[in-house]
C-alpha cells in the first residue's frame, strides 16, 4: 500500500469530502493560498476556489461563530484553528453555542461543524503554541473529540467528522504532519467510538491517544524484551469513548496505564483511569496509572520541554513496576 504523510491524508480527506458534498467549506486563517503554516491544506483553494476555501482575518471567535451560523443553516463548515492553544479564544462559540444548540432547541437545530486544530509539545514553540487542550472540549457535552494517531487514522476520522451531524473537534498532533503511514487509495471512513487494538498483549494494557499511541507502542516493544506482553489500545475518539474495548482489555490484563499528552491533572488520563477503576475494579491487580504531560506551562528550552511529556522509556518503566507489583501507594 502507498504511504503518505499525515498532512497529505488530512488534505485528501477534506478534498474528497468537498468533492462529494458542495455544502462543505473551509474557513480559517491562511487556509487558502498559504494552505496553513503547516501546509496541510495546500492546493485546496486551486481546486475549490476562494468561495469554499475562505481566508479570514485573525478573528478566531468571529469566524468560529460564523461557522456555527453557517452550520445551522445548511452548510457544513470545517473551521481551521491554526493552533490548539487558540481554543481559549473561541470557547464561547464552541462550548456555549455550537455544543448546546441541539440540546437547547430540543433537537430542532444541529451544528454539523468540524473544528480541526492541533496539539503536541516538543516543537520548541513555548507555552502558547504547544498545549494539548482536548480535555477542555471533551468536558463539554455536545461536542465529539477525535484524536488521530497516524495518517491512516487522520484521513478516516476526518471524513467521518465531516459527515457527522454534530460539532466535532479533531486534534492533529503537529509533530506528526510529516509522519508517513500506509493509507489505501480507496475511500474509507473510521467510525467514532470504536477503539483500535493496535497490539495484543496479556500482562498490561497501555491506552494512548494521538501520538501517545506511538509512545505506547514503543514502550510495548521495550517491554517485550523484558518478557512483558503489553496490549496497546488507541481509543481514536475520546468522545464518544469506546469503554467496552478498554474494559475488556483490562479485565484480561488486570493492569493499565493511560497515556495522553494533555496535562495530567483533571484530564483524559484521569477520566479513563477512573472509568477502569469503577467498572473493572475487581479485575485489577495493580493501581491504574495516569501518564500525562507535566502540570507546568510548556517551557521553551529543549532541555526542559522534553521533560514534560511521557516517553516510551518512562512508560515502559512504569509498566514494569506495575507488572512486578511495585506500585504500593502508586508512588
Amino acid at each position: 500500500m502507498r504511504e503518505i504523510t499525515l498532512s497529505k491524508a488530512v488534505n485528501e480527506a477534506i478534498a474528497e469530502e468537498m468533492r462529494r458534498d458542495p455544502t462543505v467549506f473551509l474557513i480559517g486563517e491562511d487556509v487558502a493560498e498559504a494552505g496553513t503554516p503547516f501546509k496541510v491544506l495546500a492546493g485546496l483553494v486551486e481546486e475549490f476556489g476562494t468561495k469554499r476555501v475562505i481566508d479570514t482575518p485573525i478573528s478566531e471567535p468571529g469566524f468560529t461563530g460564523m461557522a456555527v451560523g453557517a452550520a445551522l443553516t445548511g452548510s457544513r463548515p470545517i473551521v481551521d484553528l491554526m493552533f490548539g492553544d487558540f481554543i481559549f479564544l473561541i470557547m464561547d462559540q464552541l462550548c456555549n453555542q455550537a455544543a448546546k444548540a441541539c440540546y437547547m432547541s430540543g433537537g430542532k437545530l444541529n451544528v454539523p461543524l468540524v473544528l480541526r486544530t492541533n496539539l503536541g509539545a516538543t516543537r520548541r514553540s513555548a507555552a502558547q503554541h504547544s498545549q494539548s487542550l482536548h480535555a477542555l472540549v471533551a468536558h463539554i457535552p455536545g461536542l465529539k473529540v477525535a484524536m488521530p494517531s497516524s495518517a491512516y487514522e487522520a484521513k478516516g476520522l476526518m471524513k467521518t467528522a465531516i459527515r457527522d451531524n454534530n460539532p466535532v473537534v479533531i486534534f492533529e498532533d503537529k509533530l506528526m504532519y510529516q509522519d508517513k503511514a500506509p493509507v489505501p487509495e480507496e475511500e474509507y471512513l473510521i467510525p467514532f467510538g470504536k477503539a483500535n487494538i493496535k497490539r495484543e498483549g496479556t500482562d498490561i494494557t497501555l491506552i494512548g491517544t494521538s501520538s501517545m499511541v506511538q509512545v505506547a507502542e514503543k514502550a510495548a516493544a521495550l517491554l517485550e524484551k523484558d518478557g512483558i506482553s503489553a496490549e496497546v489500545i488507541d481509543p481514536r475518539t475520546i468522545v464518544p469513548l469506546d469503554e467496552e474495548t478498554i474494559l475488556a482489555s483490562v479485565r484480561k490484563t488486570s493492569r493499565a496505564i493511560v497515556i495522553d499528552e494533555g496535562h495530567q491533572s483533571y484530564g483524559v488520563t484521569g477520566e479513563i483511569a477512573s472509568r477502569i477503576s469503577e467498572k473493572a475494579f475487581y479485575h485489577l491487580d495493580a493501581p491504574v496509572l495516569r501518564m500525562g504531560a507535566m502540570d507546568v506551562p510548556v517551557p521553551f528550552s529543549p532541555a526542559l520541554e522534553d521533560l514534560t511529556v511521557p516517553t516510551p522509556e518512562a512508560v515502559a518503566e512504569r509498566a514494569r513496576q506495575s507488572v512486578r507489583g511495585e506500585l504500593f501507594d502508586a508512588a
Binding site: T122, L175, Y177, Q178, H283, T311, P312, A316, Q321, E326
Partner: protein, 454 residues
C-alpha cells in the same frame, strides 16, 4: 573561521530538505545574499542564500540528497581551499553523536563501539580504574575481561561487550572516571595506531578540534522527536512493601476476589511471611501450600462470604446438665466447660482446625480458653492460654436476644435467650456446608447433652 551552511527549516512541519542543485561550485567566491543552492521541501522549491562572504568549500551533501534540517551542507571559508579535509560523504551520525556526550572523546578517535564506565552500584558516580586487562591494539571478545573497576563497594571485572580490537584506551590506571564516560573504543578492524591516553591529558587536546564538526549534533535538535528524549527511568526501586496494617490484609482487588472465589485464605500468606500487598501472582504461592485442615474440599467451592446462621433449642436440657455436672464433679465452671466441650466437638465434626474454644461471659471475668483435646473428660477441662479456634459468647444472662456482629478472625458462637428458648448464632467465614454442620452439631449437643457424653 569558516561559516557553516546549514539545511534551513523552510516550513512549519518539515524535517528535511532535498538539495536539488548547488548554484555555486566548490571554491567559488560568494557574497552574502548570493543564491547558494536550491532546496525542495514537500511543498515548494526555493533558493537558499549565503549569509556570509567567502568561498564555498567543503560540500557535504550532493544533489538529490535529502538532508535533515540543521545539518551542515557546506562551509563558507576564507580561502577557496576551505578546511582542506576531503569532502566527507554524508557521514552517518551514530558514533560521533554519542561521543559528544563524553568529554574524553577526541577528534582523532578511531571508529568503533564505545565502552563506557558502567554504573555498578545504586549510588555510584564514578569508578576507579584498577587496571586494564587488554593491551591497546589487541583482539578482544565481547565476554573477555577488559578492565577492573573499583567502586566504594567492591572491585569487579568489566567485560569488553563487543568483539573486535581495543582501538583506544581513554583513561589510565588509577584514574577515577565518571559513570557514563567513554573509556575505550573497540573497533571492528585492527587499528593501525591504537590510541592510549589518560583522562588527564585528553580534554585539552580533544575539545577544540572536536567542537567544530560536532556542534550541530551536540546541541539539542531544534525539533527533537519524542523518541530522542533522554531516558528518565532511574534504577528500579526496591519493591514497596506495605507497612504493618494492624491485621488488615492488603491485596489487590483481583487477588482478593480470586482468593474468595477459590476459598483461599490470604491470612496464610501473612503467616508465611509473604510481603504485602498481595497480587494475583502470590495466589500461586498460596495454591501451592499444603491444604490446611480448614480447607476441606468443600471450601474450594465456597463463596467465601461471611455466614450468619441461627438455631433455637429448649434451654432446659443444658441447665439440667450443668447442674448435674457441678454436683457430680464439683466443677468450678460447669457451664463454660460444657459449652466449650460441645463447641470443640461440633467444630471437629465440621472439619474445623483444632484449637481451643474461648468462652466469653460478658460481666463475669475475662474470656477463658479451653483446649479441648478429643477424649478429654469434661470434668478435667480447665481454662488455659491456648489460641482459640472458636469463640463462644454466652449472652444468656444478658438482655440481648439476638446478635449480628459480623465475622471475626475465627468463628463465633453467640448464645442468647428468649424466654425458655436458647438461640445460638454462628458468625464466621467458612464454606456454607461447614457452617451448617458446625451449628447443627453444636445445637444437637445443647439439646441433648447426655447423648454427647455417652
Amino acid at each position: 573561521m569558516p561559516h557553516e551552511v546549514i539545511m534551513p527549516a523552510l516550513g512549519m512541519a518539515q524535517d528535511s530538505g532535498v538539495l536539488v542543485a548547488w548554484l555555486k561550485a566548490p571554491g567559488d567566491p560568494v557574497k552574502a545574499g548570493d543564491a547558494l543552492m536550491e532546496v525542495e521541501t514537500d511543498k515548494a522549491t526555493m533558493e537558499v542564500e549565503a549569509a556570509h562572504d567567502g568561498f564555498l568549500t567543503d560540500l557535504r551533501a550532493s544533489e538529490g540528497e535529502a538532508v535533515p534540517v540543521g545539518d551542515v551542507v557546506a562551509l563558507i571559508s576564507e580561502t577557496p581551499e576551505g578546511s582542506g579535509t576531503p569532502e566527507p560523504k554524508a557521514e552517518p551520525a551514530d558514533g560521533p553523536a554519542e561521543a559528544s556526550e563524553g568529554s574524553g572523546a577526541g577528534a582523532a578517535l578511531p571508529e568503533g563501539r564505545q565502552v563506557i564506565m558502567p554504573a555498578l552500584g545504586m549510588a555510584q558516580d564514578t569508578g576507579l580504574i584498577v587496571g586494564w586487562s587488554v593491551q591497546p591494539g589487541t583482539k578482544v571478545g565481547a565476554d573477555d575481561v577488559l578492565l577492573e573497576v573499583e567502586t566504594d563497594k567492591s572491585t569487579m571485572e568489566v567485560p569488553a561487550g563487543h568483539d573486535g580490537y581495543l582501538a583506544a584506551v581513554l583513561a589510565a590506571e588509577g584514574e577515577d572516571v565518571p559513570v557514563g564516560e567513554v573509556i575505550a573504543v573497540i573497533s571492528a578492524d585492527k587499528p593501525d595506531a591504537p590510541v592510549q591516553r589518560s583522562r588527564a591529558d585528553a580534554p585539552a587536546a580533544a575539545a577544540p578540534a572536536a567542537k567544530a564538526p560536532e556542534a550541530p549534533t551536540a546541541a539539542p535538535a531544534p525539533q527533537a522527536t519524542r523518541e530522542a528524549q533522554a531516558q528518565e527511568a532511574g534504577p528500579a526501586p526496591a519493591r514497596r512493601i506495605a507497612p504493618d496494617t494492624g491485621g488488615r490484609i492488603l491485596a489487590s482487588p483481583k487477588a482478593r476476589r480470586l482468593a474468595a472465589q477459590e476459598g483461599l485464605d490470604l491470612a496464610r500468606l501473612v503467616a508465611e511471611g509473604v510481603p504485602q500487598p498481595f497480587h494475583v501472582a502470590d495466589l500461586d504461592t498460596l495454591r501451592a501450600m499444603p491444604p490446611a485442615a480448614a480447607e476441606t474440599p468443600a471450601a474450594a467451592t465456597a463463596s467465601g462470604g461471611a455466614q450468619c446462621l441461627t438455631a433455637e433449642i429448649d434451654g432446659a436440657a443444658l441447665a439440667g446438665f450443668t447442674d448435674w455436672l457441678a454436683r457430680e464433679t464439683g466443677h468450678s465452671a460447669p457451664r463454660a466447660a460444657a459449652l466449650a466441650a460441645f463447641a470443640a466437638a461440633a467444630w471437629h465434626e465440621a472439619g474445623g482446625t483444632s484449637g481451643a474454644v474461648s468462652v466469653e461471659v460478658p460481666g463475669v471475668g475475662p474470656a477463658r480458653a479451653f483446649d479441648v483435646a478429643p477424649g478429654t473428660p469434661l470434668a478435667a477441662l480447665a481454662p488455659g492460654d491456648a489460641t482459640p479456634a472458636v469463640i463462644l459468647r454466652d449472652l444468656a444472662r444478658t438482655a440481648i436476644t439476638g446478635v449480628q456482629l459480623g465475622s471475626e478472625a475465627v468463628p463465633v458462637l453467640s448464645l442468647t435467650r428468649q424466654g425458655d428458648l436458647m438461640r445460638v448464632t454462628l458468625e464466621g467465614r467458612m464454606p456454607p456446608p461447614q457452617a451448617i454442620t458446625f451449628l447443627n452439631a453444636f445445637a444437637a449437643r445443647l439439646a441433648d447433652p447426655l447423648r454427647h457424653i455417652l
